[in-house]
Amino acid sequence: MSATRELMFDHGQPSYSEVNNDVINALTTTTWRYWVTLGISAGTALLFFVAPWIYQIIVGVGAAGMNRNAMWGTYLSNFIFWIGLSHSGTLLSAVLHITQSDWRKSIYRSAEAMTLFSLMTAAMFVMVHVGRVWFVHWTFPFPNPMELWPNFRSPLMFDVMAILTYLTASSVFIYMGSLPDFAAVRDRSTGLRRRIYAVMCFGWRGTAHEWHTLGWAYTFFAVLVIPLAVSVHSIVSWDFAMSTVPGLHHTIFAPYFVCGAIYSGTAGIVTVMWMLRKFMGFGRYIGQLHIDNLSKLLLVLSLIWTYINICENFSGWYSGTSFEYEAILYRIWEGPFWWLYWEMILFCAVVPLVLFSRRIRTNWNLMLVISILINIGMLTERFVIVASSLPRKFLPDVFGTYFPSLVEISITVGSFAIFTTLFLLFVKIFPAVSIYEVKETLNPLRRREAHT
């Protein structure tokens, strides 16, 4: 443990009070740059997401490029991407908590925030996707006046339940983990902020009893969240796999999606880490060890992902049916999106192979590039799955093509702005690095020297 401890801090250990100062200052001290960034981000979200969406609501979903064959398009693939991106945060945090990996502690808060905001963005895409968003609440489990409830046999209801649960659990998870830190913020602030944080921390004092209870509860949350996260993306994959569509109707889809989700989420964390180091001054807390470990994880995930991709194509080829074979062929070679397929292979299967080198693994800037490439690859993976399977199903006479419209592209761009906006708000509300858990990883304050 102490070896880890040394590795975790590239620039020497801070003291307890320095941790408080660093984290809380990052929260309370706001420069004009922050406001400009927030303004740009929120403006982009409005212009690129909200405005086209309102237009789409007025004219109908026809504003998007979907058609008779491709009833699903970019909206759905983005939905899956964002759900996927949400997968590392809470899942990784929970797994590392259970396995008591200390290096998790300085990064998990942002990772969990990523989960939460990705999920929210994904939920937005559900609403953008449906034809009559004004009735989207009909999917919630409540009856209409005829006592008609939703159809719990539908994979989409699994989705609703899974996302609802995931959103709830993730919110609880991040909030509970932040309680002591809210208290720390409360203690250091005055006036309105103090009152707000006093309420937000529920009167946390840090008594042994509270710590004890929080420890138990937190472990239970972690235990509950792990199977949940695995189930969420499995369920999302079943939206596809439960159809008969060639190219989607694969048994391997659940592990494929879960693996892809963690993959993309982990890459997302790397990106966010870089941002926190760069713009929030958390370089002291997020160091070589973190990036090295995350990169190793990325490497493993990329290999699994590659393997599953090979499996998928192999089963399409080996199926001996025209349906599957043509679907695979269309996806990787004959379709209009073949280049996207190979782009995805390049970014998600080939590029991560460089992570075998430790020097690359610990190079933050290179890792930023690789992590972004991986997420571009994952974004296109989801798009390719949807856009190359749906236009060509069973009856060749109705084979068509699908290209996203400007509205769709704009909303896709806007969704990143929404995520960024939410994240920017987050870093000014939540301590972006867990204060008390970072302290746990420091050398303990002891009279007697530790035995190590």
Binding site: V59, G60, V61, G62, G65, M66, N67, R68, N69, M71, W72, H129, V130, G131, R132, V133, F135, V136, W138, T139, L148, P150, N151, R153, S154, P155, L156, M157, V160, D239, M242, S243, T244, V245, G320, T321, S322, Y325, E326, L329, Y330, E334, G335, P336, L390, K393, F394, L395, P396, D397, V398, F399, G400, T401
Partner: protein
């Protein structure tokens, strides 16, 4: 207690309806079908299908609950064209029905795959799940140039944007026939309920009726050795049965897996599965 057990057994029965009241079935004789598309327009007239316009049609958003599909065989001069009308198959185990989160589509006691427009929220999952691609989405609220709207059938809803729609087997005509029969305390007679397409068909290729009635015309068609169902291997149990075209296979028909000249720019290339698939069939 026993009633609970009975209820439970009923609710655990696959298919739930042990017997349909009527089992409306359509038989399409491909040997009679000429592909003239009278049925397509009849359907459009009966079911208030909108005129989407050239632009939207080019975008692949046409509204045709019933369409004629065309498949070429061979190449010039031994080219041959085959037509097959494709409409909602009213599958007894419809993939679309599991998809809907809000029960906008379900199976009714007549074996019809019903679509409840005002319940639909437009997730379009049903259309994705449908292997026959016979579900159509209202990408826009379509309007009729005045006074074309005066033609609209008062028995059929005009759908708004964001709603999925599809062939209903002209349920409004079936219900009228059933109402009439109920008034007269009898079952619907064979041929009494006819969807618009069957009525219009100039070659009588489309036969519609109740499969539960062993003497109905459609029941007799089902006995035909030419009868088959499209994509039967998906186990959707369609209610539309096709009678295979009885034309002799083209000379050199063995070669029909060869894709040949394709008008589509993404034409498939010759493939290696053909031997395997024909083996599997044999």
């Amino acid at each position: 207690m026993s009633t609970i057990r009975d209820k439970l057994r009923e609710y655990r029965t696959a298919g739930y309806y042990t017997e349909f009241e009527y089992h409306w079935t359509m038989a399409v004789d491909l040997d009679r079908c000429t592909g003239c598309e009278a049925c397509v327009v009849a359907c459009q007239a009966e079911n208030n299908l909108p005129i989407v316009g050239e632009k939207r049609m080019r975008q692949g958003r046409e509204m045709k609950w019933l369409r004629i599909e065309r498949y070429w065989d061979g190449d010039y001069p031994d080219a041959r064209l085959n037509f097959i009308p494709m409409l909602c198959q009213h599958c007894d185990e419809a993939p679309c029905e599991i998809a809907c989160p809000v029960f906008a589509t379900y199976h009714n006691q007549d074996g019809l795959n019903a679509q409840v427009y005002n319940r639909c929220i437009g997730t379009r999952t049903c259309a994705v799940y449908c292997p026959y691609e016979v579900r159509f989405f209202n990408w826009f609220t379509y309007t009729w140039d005045e006074p074309l709207e005066q033609q609209l059938n008062p028995d059929v809803t005009v759908r708004e944007k964001g709603v999925m729609e599809k062939c209903t087997f002209c349920v409004q005509r079936i219900n009228r026939a059933k109402d009439l029969a109920r008034d007269e305390d009898r079952r619907v007679a064979d041929g009494e309920a006819q969807p618009a397409c069957a009525q219009a068909c100039p070659t009588d290729a489309i036969v519609f009726g109740d499969r539960n009635d062993p003497d109905s015309a459609v029941s007799r068609k089902l006995e035909d050795p030419r009868a088959y169902k499209v994509l039967e291997e998906l186990n959707t149990h369609p209610s539309v049965v096709y009678l295979k075209n009885a034309r002799e296979p083209l000379a050199g028909h063995e070669d029909d897996d060869h894709h040949g000249e394709e008008s589509d720019s993404h034409a498939a290339s010759p493939v290696m599965w053909s031997e395997e698939s024909s083996e599997a069939v044999a």
